[in-house]
Symmetry: C2
Subunit: 120 residues, 2 copies
DNA sequence: ATAACTGCTTACTTAAGGGTAAGTACTTGT
DNA sequence: ACAAGTACTTACCCTTAAGTAAGCAGTTAT
């Protein structure tokens, strides 16, 4: 995947923030460019890899798989594969991921509000 | 501040996501490395520039002022300056920023839960 | 006189994240 | 025979975000 330099100031600050600020801790798990979008897609139920790819315009396969892997590593999303040809792989929330849903919904709700407010 | 190339794929995708996904829209306003931490600090009340600097270990003045400006541009935080010497500048939530607080609290609450869960 | 405080600004460098484009293995449809 | 579908992997390059380090203007404290 992507190598991270262990001794960089950036990395040090990241660790510091994650330990000092709960909001920052969460952002590190669900923030970034693609993770919010992937999570949003999964909120409407389990999805196949190719379904996600088609549902998210502009995402590359590299980004999709990379973030799915990170979400798995953080135990927010699980992968279920059936050993058939063509392969059938489904991604869905874990129990921990499910517990995030109210938070994601609160975020989305605020987002919608702001959209509507900007329309007026 | 920082120049953004208009025609980059990254920028195009960013716009796309912000229009297609409410979660992504919100993340663009409150995500990143420093914004969550700054917002978290402001949740406990208005703060001076130097208070924020001291409260956030590791942040540079450049990052602090840059993100405060972005938060102002997004109308989440307001700046109040008194024309005295030494200068007295206070940052606090706007009305819009206040409306974000329940969301930030929900995020922080989930973060605390996960911390505790990891401790067991 | 000089250090320290206030709230910034600027130019330069580095590192992380993302994009491009190709390839893999195996099968069904035409 | 060849394209198209499945779910990935890999190598290389470019853009953005962040870090480093300095400076400014005006005042009080030592």
């Amino acid at each position: 995947m992507t190598q991270i330099k262990e001794n960089s100031t950036w990395n040090f600050n990241k660790e510091l923030s994650m330990q000092a600020c709960p909001v920052s801790f969460v952002m590190n798990k669900i923030g970034g460019h693609w993770k919010p979008i992937i999570l949003y897609q999964l909120m409407s139920g389990p999805k196949r890899y190719s379904e996600l790819r088609r549902a998210i315009p502009g995402i590359t396969e590299k980004m999709l798989i990379q973030h799915l892997k990170q979400l798995q590593a953080d135990d927010l999303v699980s992968r279920k594969a059936e050993a058939v040809v063509p392969p059938y792989v489904v991604y869905q929330f874990t129990t921990k991921g499910e517990s995030l849903q109210p938070v994601l919904k609160a975020i989305a709700a605020w987002g919608y509000e702001q959209w509507n407010a900007e329309m007026i």
